[in-house]
């Protein structure tokens, strides 16, 4: 209760201050309710207030974007999505503070887009502008014509957020015996030597837009190091695995990659690729005492955007490949996924029909997301949608079969 009062007071003060300083305020209020097909339970009941404070000058600008999520159990999730200061110079800009950074040309797939970690507490379902977590960083962009050199320094590492036990999106890891967890090594100490560096070169030309990037970073997902204890099972008196100790730990990654987009006879051709140097994968190789092996890894995508009449279509093929693969690795050597998007606007762009789908080609699972949005006026819209998970129950999408839902969102923008 104290936290809620504090947030309310802070927002009131911020609003008063903003009005006094002619700060521009916009944002939205949204209600979002979803019902599971499986048992008619509410999969989500969420109220959101998104406030965006911005003040822009010729030499300096600032932005603050607090977001408040209120859930049906009256729990409150307050997030400062962004809070930064911009400094503008003749040929370069500096942004300091909490910020979201988006790289690459892929839609709904994160290949070179690795600066801002993801909030996966509701899998991939939040809007893509809400799925990224802001990071406290210093970013400098240096401009030469239509080219940009960008450097980002992130002093403190932020990992991917994953669903917690009790969430409908939490998946219990499958181990042969109930494990014990040692999280003593999971957190990266805030220290200069543990900071992250990202570099990017961007060119925007008539023929092609492209980006080249490099990163010295941390793997956003922890490696699960496994300590195994073998002995005689007291029940059966047979030798076997007695205990598992799981030690999550983040490791350094060096990543290089790039992306491009170009138009060829009315069709936008997009591509993106990244080479991950030294990523850990779970293995059953007995020679690997901690159950992991370090391999290089390639993640790439090709995509097309085109129109048939007034219907906008987009499709992407994504492949993840473990290089120098050995058969003991639990992941498959290659994992292929496709995405498909169709969008049609009607009634003078007041009604929008959309179908987006991830299709896993390895285990034939998919997530199908049809939705229809109607704008009652320029401020108020209603969205009716569905998330349908299909496929093998051990697959990436099929494991959430029971979470297929129909949902409604009412949104007021101001």
């Amino acid at each position: 209760m104290k936290t809620k009062r504090l947030i309310l007071i802070l927002l009131l003060i911020a609003s008063q201050f903003s009005m006094a300083q002619n700060v521009d305020i916009n944002g939205f209020a949204r209600t979002y309710e979803g019902v599971l097909y499986d048992n008619s339970n509410f999969g989500i009941i969420q109220q959101t207030l998104n406030l965006n404070f911005e003040k822009m000058g010729d030499k300096v600008a600032f932005n603050a974007n607090p977001m408040i999520y209120l859930y049906n159990d009256d729990s409150l999730d307050f997030r400062m999505r962004e809070l930064y200061l911009d400094l503008y110079f003749k040929n370069f800009d500096i942004r300091i503070g909490k910020q979201q950074v988006v790289w690459g040309k892929a839609d709904g797939v994160f290949i070179t887009d690795i600066v801002s970690p993801l909030n996966l507490t509701e899998f991939l379902l939040p809007d893509f502008d809400e799925i990224r977590i802001g990071v406290i960083a210093a970013k400098i962009d240096y401009y030469v014509g239509n080219s940009t050199f960008e450097a980002i320094w992130i002093p403190v590492f932020t990992p991917t957020e994953r669903p917690k036990p009790g969430s409908i999106w939490y998946v219990q890891p499958d181990f042969p015996v109930p494990p014990t967890w040692d999280i003593s090594k999971e957190k990266i100490t805030p220290n200069l030597k543990y900071s992250e560096i990202f570099l990017k070169y961007t060119a925007l030309t008539s023929a092609i837009d492209f980006e080249l990037m490099g990163a010295y970073t941390w793997d956003d997902n922890p490696t699960l190091h496994i300590e195994k204890e073998f002995g005689l099972d007291p029940a059966t008196m047979q030798p076997g695995l007695l205990d598992l100790n799981i030690i999550p730990q983040h490791h350094r990654l060096t990543i290089g990659g790039g992306s491009f987009s170009s138009e060829i006879k009315g069709v936008i051709l997009r591509g993106e690729a990244a080479y991950y140097n030294g990523k850990y994968f779970l293995t059953e190789d007995p020679a690997q005492s901690d159950g992991n092996v370090k391999k290089n890894y390639l993640h790439y995508l090709m995509g097309l955007d085109f129109n048939i009449g007034s219907v906008k279509l987009s499709s992407q093929f994504i492949q993840q490949t473990i290089l120098d693969y050995d058969e003991n690795i639990l992941n498959e050597k290659t994992e292929n996924t496709m995405t498909f998007l169709a969008r049609y606007d009607l009634l003078r762009e007041t009604m929008h029909l959309e179908l987006f789908s991830y299709i896993g080609l390895n285990n034939e699972g998919s997530l199908v997301r049809p939705k229809i949005t109607y704008d009652f006026d320029d401020s108020f819209s209603i969205l009716l949608g569905s998330n349908i998970f299909v496929g093998d129950e051990k697959g990436r999408f099929g494991q959430y079969k029971d979470n297929s839902m129909i949902y409604i969102k009412l949104k007021y923008s101001f």
Binding site: L204, G266, I268, D378
Partner: protein, 260 residues
């Protein structure tokens, strides 16, 4: 004095006849070329307000700040959307080339996604922000995309007009033909009729006001009326500034992302 009056009358008659001879020699293509190539300066800044009016009378308003610059062999433009709230800070950049074989380059920056996306310039038949203007209506249609035919001239309220019928060479184009009334004195296309694929009248564009700004004629108030569904869009340009020397750096990804 009488002789002077006669002399003035004779000179006026000669000028008028010469003008008519020149005018008569103009082909429909040349007239439309003059309409398309009417100079509006090397660069221009303006605020655009579009009012979308439903047949019920309900209005929706879109506000845009726009910059254009003629670079000789190409024209660059950038638009910053200011309202409605859900599109605020969205920006759109277009590079158009004089080379008719080269299609436009277009990008859109979506602030919520923090992403600058190249988009296809193939969707010129789409309506701009739900208005009655298509992207093609707003852009510079290439002169030789159509075959132009001169129809009998008209005089309305004492103003003489060329009347030109333009038929697209692409049979699949959204309009079967357009008929434009072009003022003979300044080559402004003051009224334009658009016919649908069934050759039925679809829309009428009215130029309601043009002003001389910094020595250039600029259309400041126009209205597109869809006669088939009784919907119309009013378009008003304000705060127009011409030849202020807009820097090339205005038309870059940096500005799209930063905003105005």
């Amino acid at each position: 004095m009488k002789n002077l009056k006669i002399l003035v009358s004779v000179i006026a008659m000669i000028i008028s006849m010469s003008y008519q001879v020149v005018a008569q020699e103009m082909t429909a293509r040349e007239i439309i070329e003059k309409v398309y190539n009417r100079s509006e300066g090397d660069d221009q800044t303006s605020n655009l307000t579009m009012t979308l009016i439903h047949k019920s009378g309900k209005e929706r308003i879109r506000k845009i700040k726009q910059f254009t610059k003629d670079l000789g062999d190409m024209e660059k433009s950038i638009m910053f959307f200011q309202s409605p709230a859900d599109v605020k800070n969205t920006s759109f950049m277009n590079w158009t080339y004089n080379d008719e074989s080269k299609s436009d380059d277009q990008w859109i920056y979506l602030p919520a996604l923090k992403k600058n996306k190249r988009i296809s310039s193939d969707s010129k038949s789409d309506y701009f922000m739900g208005s009655d203007f298509t992207y093609d209506d707003l852009g510079d249609r290439k002169l030789d995309d159509d075959t132009h035919k001169l129809l009998p001239e008209e005089t309305i309220d004492g103003v003489a007009y060329y009347v030109v019928e333009s038929t697209p060479k692409d049979e699949d184009y959204m309009y079967s033909k357009t008929i434009t009334r072009v003022r003979k004195d300044n080559f402004i296309g003051l009224k334009k009729e658009f016919y649908d694929e069934d050759e039925e009248l679809l829309k009428i564009l009215y130029i309601k006001k043009f002003e001389e700004i910094s020595g250039f004629l600029v259309i400041t108030n126009s209205e597109m009326q869809n006669v088939q569904n009784d919907h119309k869009t009013k378009m008003i340009l304000s705060d127009i500034k011409i030849n202020t020397g807009i820097s090339d750096s205005k038309f870059t990804e940096r500005m799209m992302m930063r905003g105005m």
